[in-house]
Symmetry: C2
Subunit: 113 residues, 2 copies
């Protein structure tokens, strides 16, 4: 899709199961298909007890926690995350995330194409 | 700052007044100074009655509404926005935003460096 401004609720975008971990799904709310030239915005949900195990990739991640409680970190350490937590993961840096709460853990994750 | 993963609450980043409009402030939560190679994440707050008038720039915006109620659009039309609304503004496309609610309008806005 290209053209003008696009305004819509995230719930209009179907979830996809994520290959990144157990109990993890995501919506690609802005992507190449939106016409976005440089980077994509995804909304993730992780079920209680779900996790994204330690992994790494060539690209950076810029993340913002919307809802829920969890732990996030790299190979060496973890720290608590919750609504309003910002995470910056540099390119090629190992990282992990898990839901330690009773509700869904929801966060935004922006990555380059 | 460069190096490892960065995890912190958005509230640890001071607000700056935004030159974009009346009653508008922002936190640069991830920026070049974070070591981010490609794009920056900002958290905006718009006071009740505040607005960002119609403007345009060379870069795209990828936005997500966290809290509050408002209207957003381009020169031709506006539509309601609220928590969970996603906005994609293409490069060089005129756009505007205003808070029509009783509380603060909060949103994330990601732009390239």
């Amino acid at each position: 899709m290209t053209g003008g401004i696009q305004i819509f609720h995230e719930s209009t975008v179907p979830f996809e199961e994520s290959p990144m971990g157990r109990g993890v799904r995501l919506r690609w709310v802005i992507s190449k298909a939106s016409g976005a030239p440089r980077y994509a915005m995804r909304v993730f949900e992780v079920d209680p007890g779900g996790e994204i195990p330690l992994h790494q990739h060539w690209y950076e991640q810029e993340m913002y926690v919307l809802e829920g409680e969890g732990m996030a970190g790299d190979a060496d350490s973890e720290q608590p995350i919750g609504p309003g937590t910002v995470l910056y993961v540099p390119p090629n840096h190992p990282h992990r995330m898990r839901n330690t709460g009773k509700g869904v853990l929801r966060f935004i994750c922006v990555i380059p194409h």
